[in-house]
């Protein structure tokens, strides 16, 4: 009897040790999740052809509202305002999609997602589209099973230091301590770049951006690194912003793009062209204020764009005036940008690469015809 109990307990113990090993340490956990995600992706992608008969577009239209995976706590991009309404740059693109689909930007159900669960949420169909400051990478486009729409925000990882330390380049950071937030790619990019340049440094890792910048301000590290958009906005909040400088180096490219499930080109097309419509509207100079005046325009390009001529929207499975709806309800790219990140916000981010191609930026929409 005792022996049996002993063997049973031993078996349980082994089981617990195995489970405990899987669970302990967030790094390991993340790896496990990633592996599992990859395995499952294969299954999901295999299933898609069978399910492709019905596009997500039809599902969304039938449901009567869009389910948008978002970030609920990223300054400027996604947060809850004091009335409990979602607001931010990424949120506005959810609204633009809903405006194109339903002529009503409020027909969105927001799903706040963490970095760890975001791709699973797309794979399982829990969200229709992921607009959550997600960097477009090759592996995410392939093995993770995403399809990416055009980049809505070009970001890149930068480094901020104190002016007094006289650091001009990465090489000057030899032996420095660098504050960095743990999580997606920031920490890894830093390690990659420093290794490539053969620079020794000590990373000081924090869970949240607030803690990271708090530590930097208290002088616990010589430099702090995160995406440049984040650095600019945080710099303005430091006690003496003029004492700090953002180095002219970019550690990584971070094109933040909306993502949908792989293998549903009809739905991807809709997301793609709604994003393009915001670019094109800025190029045409059409804003939410003056869009109705443009209805009298003689320019055939604008008339096609607004759905006054031709059948562009029908081809997407939308109405022909989908671009008009987007602009009327949410605005063009410049309006979205300025509302959330522009000069009238605490961030005051320069457009930089997020300018139109006509202004030397990277925003370029294929022709609407």
């Amino acid at each position: 009897m005792h022996r049996k109990v002993f063997i049973l307990m031993l078996g349980l113990l082994v089981l617990l040790v195995v489970l405990g090993a899987c669970a302990s340490g967030s790094q390991e956990k993340q790896l496990v999740t990633m592996e599992v995600t990859k395995e499952v992706t294969v299954i999901v992608t295999k299933e898609v052809p069978a399910a492709a008969a019905k596009s997500k577009l039809d599902v969304v239209m039938e449901r009567g509202k869009l389910i948008c995976g978002v970030n609920a706590n990223l300054p400027g991009f996604g947060y809850l305002d004091q009335n409990g309404q979602y607001a931010g740059f990424d949120i506005d693109f959810c609204k633009a999609l809903a405006a194109a689909l339903f002529d009503d930007p409020s027909k969105v159900e927001y799903r706040p997602l963490t970095a760890k669960e975001r791709f699973t949420a797309v794979q399982t169909g829990e969200v229709d589209v992921l607009i959550r400051n997600t960097t477009w990478t090759l592996s995410r486009d392939t093995s993770v099973g995403m399809d990416f729409a055009p980049t809505t925000f070009y970001d890149g990882q930068g480094i901020m230091v104190r002016k007094a330390d006289n650091i001009k380049s990465l090489e000057d950071l030899q032996g420095a301590t660098i504050c960095v937030s743990t999580g997606t790619t920031t920490e890894l990019n830093l390690a990659d770049q420093m290794r490539a340049h053969g620079i020794d440094y000590t990373p000081v890792v924090f869970e949240t951006a607030d803690a990271t910048f708090g530590a930097y301000e208290e002088g616990r590290c010589d430099a702090v690194t995160t995406d440049k958009s984040g650095l600019v906005s945080r710099k303005s909040l430091l006690k003496n912003p003029e004492e700090h400088v953002i180095l002219d180096v970019t550690l990584s490219k971070e094109p933040l793009s909306p993502a949908v499930l792989q293998g549903d080109s009809k739905w991807l097309d809709v997301v793609k062209w709604v994003v393009f419509a915001t670019f094109q509207a800025e190029e045409f100079g059409i804003t939410s204020q003056n869009v109705d005046d443009f209805k009298n325009s003689d320019n055939p390009g604008i008339r096609r764009f607004l759905g006054l001529e031709g059948d562009l929207g029908k081809g997407l499975g939308l109405t022909n005036d989908f671009a008009y709806r987007v602009i009327k309800h949410v605005g063009n790219y410049a309006e979205i940008y300025d509302r959330n990140l522009g000069p009238n916000t605490p961030f005051n981010l320069p457009r930089g690469p997020n300018s139109l191609w006509t202004d030397g930026g990277l925003l370029y929409s294929p022709p609407f015809r």
């Binding site: 617990l16 489970l19 302990s24 299933e47 947060y79 409990g84 794979q123 607030d210």
Partner: protein, 401 residues
């Protein structure tokens, strides 16, 4: 001696007593004096810093403008009356329970007053002030009814546990509503947030884990091998993994195993995860109580001809549960705090709302104020629970035999 000089003398006497007390307890021998002085200095420095920050340094605007967000998250404004109704229901039942089990309504009134003052001074809408006043008044009123209407007491004590249980489900239905209903339109659980979600998660986990935990505890001590084995396996499996793992499992893995058209609500998944987790720990607490019951009790029950159910229901469980109240309440308190873990699986509980508030453009960098505020909220709730458990212990005479 004149009365005045007597008064003087007693006062001098009091002062002398106080000084002797100081000397005996804080300043002798010399090393105690040293410790006292050092601690006093440390407390002074810390307190000064904290108080200075609270009154001069902190920008409390971030909290006051977002009070509604902290309370209910993105719950739709035009449906807020449902939350008020649920709160009113809970406070009426709370007041009745207070009075029925010997609480004084005067004490309830005194307890309520600081809250009233806070709510009247707080920068909330007049409607919210009125509603708070009404629900708190209902609490006092119902406690007075239960206290002073004597004949009501006995039946109340019988009915109230069931009333709480019914109210629990009524509240869930009330907050959730029905699809397509005019009066009670559906409010997706995705819109539940803030303190509301934190309390709901905790209450659901506490209420549902209790029966499961008791059953598991009985199962583990059962003589039926399969039942026993299952209970042991379940308890040890769940106790072997952290709550975060269970939550990740529920949020990320579960949807992959389910058929594609079956979608279980995210909040529901978190509730299930927390309930199953809490049940395993509760089972062990209850088992501790069961083991403390002397064998004679079982034998006596058998001698009376009671069957297994009757023995447990009338003899064993009442004693066992009574003995483990402190452990169970301790577990419930930690469960309440553990609800903050759902923030990392993307639910908008109090902590998650706090993170979102910090991300509002006009308040960036004010995380200290926000975290201090939610810290106070967590403390109030946890302390209230531990206070209630102490009263319950006194009432049931635990420790006094």
């Amino acid at each position: 001696m004149t009365p005045k000089s007597i008064a003087m003398q007693t006062r001098r006497q009091l002062l002398r007593d106080f000084l002797t007390w100081l000397k005996e307890n804080l300043f002798s021998p010399w090393y105690n004096a040293l410790i006292t002085i050092v601690s006093a200095a440390v407390i002074y420095v810390a307190l000064k810093g904290i108080l200075h920050w609270v009154f001069y340094g902190a920008k409390w605007g971030v909290v006051t403008t977002n009070l509604r967000l902290f309370a209910v998250g993105p719950y739709p404004t035009d449906q807020l009356w449902r939350v008020w109704l649920a709160l009113g229901l809970a406070l009426v039942l709370g007041g009745l329970s207070w009075g029925a089990w010997g609480g004084r309504s005067l004490v309830a009134l005194i307890l309520v007053i600081p809250f009233l003052v806070v709510f009247w001074l707080a920068p909330i809408t007049p409607a919210a002030k009125r509603n708070w006043t009404v629900v708190l008044f209902l609490f006092v009123l119902s406690s007075a009814v239960a206290e002073f209407v004597r004949p009501l007491r006995k039946p109340l004590q019988k009915i109230l546990p069931f009333a709480w249980l019914v109210a629990f489900f009524v509240t869930l239905v009330l907050l959730h509503g029905f699809k397509g209903s005019q009066r009670l339109p559906l409010v997706e659980t995705g819109l539940w947030g803030g303190l509301l979600l934190t309390i709901l998660l905790a209450v659901v986990a506490i209420v549902l884990s209790f029966p499961i935990g008791v059953l598991l505890a009985l199962g583990r001590r059962s003589s039926l091998p399969i039942v026993k084995l299952f209970s042991i396996f379940y308890i040890e499996l769940i106790r072997g993994v952290p709550l975060v793992t269970v939550l990740f499992m529920a949020q990320i893995m579960l949807p992959l195993f389910l058929p594609p058209n079956l979608r279980i609500d995210k909040v529901l998944r978190a509730m299930a995860g927390m309930t199953l987790f809490a049940a395993a720990y509760l089972a062990e607490n209850v088992r501790g109580g069961l083991q403390a019951i002397p064998k004679g009790q079982y034998e006596a029950a058998q001698a009376l001809g009671l069957n297994y159910y009757q023995t447990m229901r009338y003899i064993i469980l009442p004693q066992a549960l009574r003995a483990v109240i402190p452990a169970i309440v301790g577990q419930f308190i930690s469960l309440f705090k553990d609800t903050s873990l759902v923030a990392i699986v993307g639910l908008l509980d109090l902590l998650s709302i706090a993170l979102s508030v910090i991300a509002q453009p006009q308040w960036i960098g004010l995380q200290r104020e926000v975290f201090a505020f939610i810290g106070v909220i967590y403390w109030i709730f946890c302390y209230a629970m531990s206070y209630a458990s102490r009263r319950l212990e006194v009432k049931l005479g635990v420790g006094v035999r």
